[in-house]
């Protein structure tokens, strides 16, 4: 028997990542009584390793973005044995923004009209123009660094902070793109290039993806949580939600969670907002089965968990004769390119990919993989390999747009559970032929770009194919972009939520995370997750009197 948490909240938010804390900030500021349940714990930024000699060693375990590698109690296991792509995420206050690369991207207008323009996927029920004011507002809320006028986007407001330095790497990459006449632009990052709203300026340590020790990166525990707490947010950590509760009328009434003493508790609420990411949200809804919702909550369409998109990743690493200080940040991205983003059917595929420059990291980097021929890895080769790579290499990362396919999905694992006995997620995901062609084409172009920049040699890393490497350091070849598994739409038979994140089947249940994406575009998703969440929560607040709630 679950014990009740005494007070019924106006809104229960499940998950304290980007979308959950955006909702929490705006709801509490508007006077709502809000409870947020988070399975992880607050993150002590003083425990990041970025300013310590052991940094590289520790990023390979405790601060690794793969939950199966970290294997903390707050992580739930994810079975990827039937997936081409491993899954990255972080469970804790701030969610995956603790470890994200902070590439703060907008989608392009065509991303919302893929069906109309390219005859594939589905159109979104909203347009770029619908989201643009919320992109602008989020830029201010989190302090984006970037440069207005990017020719890959419609004219609009510039980010509030100047871009981070290109550095030697960015300059080298830009030189090559200019020789080829290809697009590039100083990239937008949710990393403060100047002190901003209590955050420090970036110090270019290059440790962004393992926790920012400078307090410069916009993780949402820094940007949004303090304001929400100031306005009365009740944050309950270590709260692993087992299921969302519904009443006989089919309205959400709260959730059952397990606390860190192992006790089941109930948190009741008038409205429930699920913000658990593109894997955690369908997992929770599929675990929330009842006689009224035997296939999982809000799943009359059968689409909960389906259309999973993960941004399959490939990369071209250029090695240069001169030192480029390529252990330095931002990491983060100094420059990006959308030269081959839009569809050109002459290429033999539709859609495309965003490119971004990433630094090469420190000397420990990726130590020789197990089983590599001895004389290629050790002895004098150990030194030669370092001299070729360390400080002299950077990558063009290629983030392919994978189109929605119902067969790519999140399901409940038949036997595997988290540490509280809640069924874990299993990923079923295969690369499409279109994705393979995108990757092959872009790798060839990126190799040309590296050579135009003067690379003395190039290493090409195509799509990850060895599933046995998923739970190793090789999983860093994944993006952690989890999208599409509860998509939005106007047709309740073809979507899970409407454009405001409201479940078609349960009018007081909302989803605000990347699950609601109709297509994945080829951009890092957090900027769009945030804009969608902001737009949706503002709509919710404005229409609060019309909201149907459980009695």
């Amino acid at each position: 028997m679950a014990g009740n948490t005494s007070k019924i909240a106006d809104v229960l938010i499940i998950g304290s990542g980007a979308s959950g804390l955006i909702a929490a900030k705006h709801l509490t500021t508007a006077g709502f009584d809000v409870v947020c349940l988070e399975q992880g714990q607050p993150v002590d930024h003083g425990k990041f390793w970025g300013d310590k000699p052991e940094f590289e060693l520790m990023t390979q375990k405790l601060w690794h973005p793969n939950p199966n590698v970290r294997d903390l109690e707050s992580d739930y296991p994810i079975d990827t044995t039937e997936s081409d792509v491993p899954i990255l995420m972080y469970s804790g206050v701030g969610g995956t923004t603790i470890l994200y690369g902070a590439h703060w991207q907008r989608f392009m207008p065509s991303d919302f009209r893929v069906k109309t323009l390219d005859g594939v996927g589905e159109d979104w029920p909203i347009s770029y123009e619908d989201l643009e004011p919320y992109y602008d507002e989020m830029d201010l809320e989190i302090g984006v660094s970037g440069l207005g006028g990017d020719t890959a986007f419609p004219p609009g407001k510039a980010p509030p902070l100047p871009p981070l330095p290109l550095g030697k790497m960015g300059r080298k990459a830009a030189d090559g793109m200019n020789k080829l006449g290809w697009h590039w632009w100083p990239a937008p990052n949710s990393i403060a290039s100047r002190a901003y709203n209590g955050r420090n300026a970036c110090a270019l340590r290059g440790t962004c993806r393992n926790g920012c020790v400078e307090g410069a990166k916009a993780s949402f525990d820094l940007t949004h949580l303090p304001i929400a707490m100031k306005h009365g947010l009740r944050l309950i950590t270590g709260a692993r939600v087992r299921e969302v509760l519904v009443n006989e009328q089919g309205l959400a009434t709260g959730a059952v969670y397990v606390d860190r003493s192992g006790r089941e508790r109930r948190q009741l609420a008038r409205t429930v907002m699920v913000c658990c990411n593109g894997v955690g949200t369908p997992r929770l809804l599929l675990n929330s089965r009842s006689s009224r919702f035997p296939d999982g909550l809000a799943n009359s369409s059968g689409l909960v968990g389906r259309n999973l998109m993960l941004h399959p990743y490939s990369t071209v690493i250029g090695h240069f004769e001169e030192c480029l200080d390529s252990w330095m940040g931002p990491a983060g991205q100094p420059i990006q390119s959308m030269q081959f983003y839009e569809t050109d059917e002459n290429r033999g595929f539709v859609r495309g990919a965003k490119w971004h420059v990433l630094p090469g990291g420190g000397p420990l980097g990726g130590p020789p993989a197990p089983g590599r021929p001895f004389d290629e890895a050790w002895g004098a080769a150990f030194h030669r390999n370092r001299d070729r790579v360390f400080g002299r290499s950077f990558e063009w990362g290629i983030m392919a747009e994978d189109l929605p396919e119902e067969s790519n999905r999140v399901v409940l694992h038949p036997t595997l559970t988290d540490s509280d006995g809640v069924p874990a997620a299993k990923i079923l995901y295969n690369y499409s032929e279109n994705t393979k062609r995108i990757s092959a084409f872009h790798l060839a172009r990126a190799k040309e770009a590296m050579e135009a920049s003067g690379a003395s040699s190039v290493t090409v890393r195509g799509l990850m194919t060895d599933r046995s490497m998923h739970n190793t350091g090789a999983s860093l070849m994944a993006t952690g972009h989890l999208m599409g598994t509860c998509r939005m739409g106007n047709d309740a038979s073809r979507s899970v939520v409407n454009q405001w994140g409201q479940a078609h089947d349960v009018p007081n249940l909302y989803i605000f995370d990347g699950s609601v994406f109709v297509t994945g575009a080829g951009f890092n998703p957090t900027g769009t997750i945030a804009a969608i969440a902001l737009r949706a929560v503002k709509h919710f607040i404005a229409n609060r009197r019309d909201q149907e709630v459980a009695a």
């Binding site: 052991e54 392009m108 290039s193 270019l204 340590r205 150990f382």
Partner: protein
């Protein structure tokens, strides 16, 4: 500091580390920067997840010539050899002398000078991109 490794296995580790990371040009052999000293215990204290394969490899190597042992491990237990290599390389690259010799300051701070001219403005490098104009497809009517 707590010692995580017995003397005989520590000696085995040092001998294998010297095979994996020999002297090279102006760089020292692994043992010369004391990869088997306190830094080894610190690494093992911080990364309990690697202890099993680390010690498994060292026990298998005990009593053999380090070169033979390392090569055998790479064939027969590559995970163990990779773990020993990771520990040796981590210890090596944390040594201040090695860092200096390879030109690595660590993941150091660099102040961004707000008064400096932004590097995207140098040499007018963005102008060609601007001159080519928009490359996006607008929202269809």
């Amino acid at each position: 500091m707590t010692r995580f490794i017995e003397d005989d296995l520590r000696a085995t580790f040092i001998s294998i580390a010297d095979v994996l990371i020999p002297a090279y040009e102006n760089l020292p052999v692994a043992s010369e920067v004391d990869v088997g000293g306190p830094i080894l215990d610190r690494i093992l204290s911080l990364r309990d997840d690697i202890r099993d394969s680390f010690f498994r490899g060292l026990r298998a190597a005990a009593g053999k010539s380090p070169d033979v042992a390392a090569r055998e491990l790479n064939e027969q237990d590559p995970t163990a050899l990779a773990t020993i290599g990771l520990v040796a390389a981590a210890a090596y690259y944390m040594d201040p002398r090695v860092k200096q010799l390879i030109g690595y300051p660590g993941q150091a701070r660099y102040e961004i000078d707000p008064a400096a001219q932004p590097d995207y403005l140098l040499d007018n490098i963005l102008q060609p991109v601007i001159d080519r104009g928009p490359i996006y497809r607008p929202t269809p009517k």
